[in-house]
Symmetry: C2
Subunit: 433 residues, 2 copies
């Protein structure tokens, strides 16, 4: 009996998981390699960062998700390099051979050349990022409560979010609700509602990938929550405890103990290694240019999907780094691999945009579905429904639904734990303030 | 108007929280000082360590719990020292004056003089301990899956729990269920049911504070789950990856990648500081001897309660370090403080033992309530009911109930996340193996 076709998938995010699931009935042996043991529902990560949900509500063990799929082996290993000549990858545990390789390793934060800003303004990509940010936010309120100097107290209660894309807007909205509602009665020396929440973006508006009409609605929702929105403003310097903004020709220094980064992403070092090994071209953000069938030029058996790929859309612009793109690409590649095994082919990948939505807060979201545009309560209900349906595991879905319903009526945020790791980061951060 | 009586409470565990709640209608100003921002329902901590519950299910933000109680200020500070002469405590943020001081700072692990064992065999007291242990346990299965050497694989799949008190027995039972049921279909190279789970105790049985009849039932439950029980066995040495046991005159070396410590507790360094400041006597475990009214000898206005206190029970033995003792002591001190403000007094503290229960696993627990003894399913239902009723916040109760029901039918353990902190500890641990 001949050996079965071996597929190695790097990364268990939306893209990688959909490749694996799409191959569940295929006569292949799949190896899924990830550094982390969980699949993360990233669109809700900001809710962990603001104490609304627990990590386990939005992250499920990869092995659990794939337990019934007998043709997949999950390996918790770290990818170190690629060896396309020998059709092997190199991990911290050894070498793994493949016939087809799918790389879906995602992206990391980009500080636009200022890597020293990372420790001052953490970004939000992993569960650990989320619990660390949660710790910073909650510690800021604690420190304000303990502080007697009114200026320093103000500084502890000032939060700057750099970036007014979906993550920045969601964080700002959730932070506003946390301070205005959830923490309302919790303190004795401060009024948490006094917290200043500032969103900064170099673009002229918030959520600028949406039509102007929806973008300005979202901006209105933010302002209704008391969030200050600074658009067309560049961050020119970050120091512990302060942010320097440049807007037109004026420079403003904002004293803020907590700065969160939601401004940009770039490829992980893996993308550069893969480019070097295969001769593939990368774009400015380090994403790999892919062929219309998502393979790398000259490497028919290596696919790159999800946020790591620069895949040209119908308007000649690269497709955005969002979950639906990764999911459809994963499904496509799974299908293409099966067709090839049958000696057939598939037409090029085409992204079907089923709609976009972003949420600002309670009963405030925007959505664009085909020709239809929604803003406010209806968009928010749509957002709730779509996100709840997408959460991978049933149990999580039920638990999230209950927690959201409870929160809708009580404004509570139960998962407000400051853990050691987060506390330590905050402590070292303060030492510098 | 005269100043209100100031009560400072150190520690927001069961004891401290009950003092605060008991004073909710009293004409006093309360300051609750804790290093952590959450109240922890410690009896269920082992379920977090074994992936059954999320941290936020059993820990609620202290401020949230006390938000409606206007006479309390919560301070997230670390206690450094006591100054009874000036009626002040010293924290990392400054000095706080009191009229009455209640110290309920709990205990930490005791390694019986072998502090170097702590990094090899972590104990279970805090949320961070629990998530770190969870990471170690799950990583051990991951490493077994990746390991090709059968001897090393066996070592990764061997778990030793030192201590057969309630925590040790609960951990062993939960670990057995995790490996026998929850992880059943998750791996391809190993069979998680092959995991050896070994409980070791120097005492001649498990749960020896219970009547012989119940203790041997509990031992039977453990064995039914495939747990090996080594009683009358002393740990004489711990090295990364191996445990040395002495039983009678024979010495046995067990190769085990994961060792968990549930063997003993001792007072935190705070107890020694308080003893020094007040001249109070301490016992071998560092607990402070208290007067019949729980105050320190010669210091009518300083109370010590909970695990930190050595309070003599009716049989002249110190009361055990369990939640009901701390709760009743907290209630008593709150009442005594109020009586004193009215110029009255209270009879000495008397502990009312309403019963004891310990669980081994699914449908297997033991309970002793007055003259009645239960073992098995009924005891387990009692255990479930009592623990569910005691969880402080309603939302947690509902969420825990749903998760337990779900798990009862599916054997699933959803919160199986390996986080960075835990991963790192595991990594450094392995480097030494």
């Amino acid at each position: 009996m001949s050996r079965r076709h071996r597929v190695v998938v790097i990364g268990g995010g939306f893209g990688g998981l959909h490749v694996v699931r799409g191959l569940r009935k295929a006569p292949v042996d799949i190896t899924l390699v990830d550094r982390r043991n969980y699949h993360l529902f990233q669109p809700l990560l900001y809710q962990v960062a603001t104490g609304g949900l627990s990590p386990a509500n939005i992250a499920g063990p990869m092995r659990s998700i794939l337990r019934r799929q007998q043709n997949v082996t999950v390996l918790l290993e770290e990818l170190l390099d690629f060896d396309p000549t020998n059709k092997e990858i190199v991990t911290n545990e050894g070498r793994i051979e493949y016939d087809t390789l799918v790389v879906a390793a995602g992206v990391t934060h980009s500080y636009f050349g200022h890597d020293e800003w990372e420790s001052i303004a953490p970004g939000l990509k992993t569960i650990d990022d989320a619990t660390a940010i949660r710790g910073r936010i909650l510690s800021a309120f604690e420190q304000a409560e303990a502080e007697r100097d009114p200026e320093l107290r103000k500084q502890h209660l000032t939060f700057v979010i750099v970036g007014a894309g979906p993550t920045g807007v969601e964080l700002a909205g959730a932070l506003a609700e946390l301070s205005r509602h959830s923490l309302k009665h919790d303190f004795r020396n401060i009024n948490p509602s006094d917290a200043r929440i500032i969103v900064v973006d170099a673009a002229p508006g918030v959520l600028t990938t949406y039509p102007e009409e929806l973008s300005s609605k979202a901006c209105g929702f933010l302002k209704r929550l008391g969030v200050e929105v600074h658009t067309s403003a560049m961050v020119t310097d970050l120091q512990p405890g302060q942010v320097t903004l440049k807007k037109d020709d004026t420079t403003e220094v904002i004293k803020a103990a907590t700065v969160l980064w939601a401004a940009g992403v770039q490829s992980t070092p893996l993308a550069a290694k893969l480019a070097k090994a295969t001769g593939a071209q990368t774009d400015r953000a380090g994403r790999l240019h892919v062929e219309p069938n998502l393979s790398l030029s000259g490497h028919e058996n290596i696919f790159v999907i999800g946020d790591m790929a620069n895949c040209t859309g119908p308007d000649d612009k690269p497709l955005p780094g969002v979950a639906p793109v990764a999911i459809q690409q994963g499904d496509y590649v799974a299908k293409l691999i099966q067709r090839r095994l049958e000696g057939k082919n598939l037409p090029p990948f085409a992204y079907h945009n089923r709609g976009n939505m972003a949420t600002v807060g309670r009963a405030a979201a925007i959505a664009e579905i085909g020709r239809f545009r929604f803003a406010g309560f209806v968009a928010w209900l749509l957002w709730l429904f779509v996100h709840l349906m997408q959460i991978v595991q049933f149990q999580n879905r039920l638990l999230v639904l209950i927690q959201w319903s409870w929160r809708y009526f009580t404004h509570s945020r139960p998962a407000r734990l400051i853990t050691v790791e987060a506390g330590r980061r905050q402590a070292s951060h303060d030492a510098e303030v």
